[in-house]
Amino acid sequence: METGLFAIAAGIAVLTGFGAGIGIGIATSRAAEGVSRQPEAAGKITTITLIGSVLAEATAIYGLVVALIILFVKWPA
């Protein structure tokens, strides 16, 4: 079994973190803008940002899980 190729595959799978990072960054920047424009709605905006970030983060987590599956599940040769 070529462990090196598996490691590369796992690394590629973890690249999903890109999307999650960009998505959460955009969401948070918009949330900050929203709070500075309307400070009284901070509570609601925080909640919505949290939901959005959590959902966006799911992609990164799926990438991590796929990488773990690639690394730790025994594949038939």
């Binding site: 773990l68 599956i69 730790f72 599940v73």
Partner: protein
């Protein structure tokens, strides 16, 4: 034990653990505190209601007393006014009576004075006439008829009185 692999006993034990934990926490933490807070809320509400009730009652009582007091004060004022009016009336009446009496007395006194005056005048007249007659008779003596003289004197006196 391998990483990232399902191990059914762990799953089953975890489920049992979580359910037991849920039941215990519900019994010893959540139910007592929720009930306690609920009871305390009710207690506070009850005592507030009670206080409100008592306050209302006291207010009603106060109003009642105030009304009674007002009525009593008005009654007292009325009594004072009444007695004042009565006293005034009495006073007026008494004054009038006194004045009347005084007037009566005055009138009577004047009348008496008048009567006495007239009487005295009459007596004086008679005496003066007697005196004049006596004096004249002494002066003129016997020549003169008594009756004639008397008439003459009277006439003279009347003239003098008229003058």
């Amino acid at each position: 034990m391998k990483f990232f692999s399902f191990y059914i006993p762990t799953v089953v034990f975890s489920a049992i653990n979580l359910l037991v934990l849920y039941m215990i926490m519900k019994k010893i933490l959540f139910t007592p505190i929720i009930n306690f807070v609920e009871n305390r809320k009710k207690l506070i509400k009850d005592s507030l209601d009670h206080a409100e009730h008592q306050k209302n009652e006291a207010e009603a009582l106060r109003k009642d007393y105030e009304e009674q007091l007002k009525a009593a004060r008005m009654a007292a004022e009325k009594i004072v006014e009444d007695s004042r009016v009565k006293a005034e009336k009495q006073h007026e009446l008494l004054t009038q009576v006194a004045r009347q009496e005084a007037e009566e007395i005055l009138v009577k006194a004047q009348e008496e004075i008048q009567i006495k005056k007239e009487q005295m005048l009459k007596e004086l007249k008679a005496e003066v006439a007697g005196l004049a007659l006596a004096a004249a008779s002494k002066v003129i003596e016997a020549n003169m008829d008594n009756d004639k003289n008397r008439r003459l004197v009277d006439k003279f006196l009347d003239e003098a009185g008229a003058a």
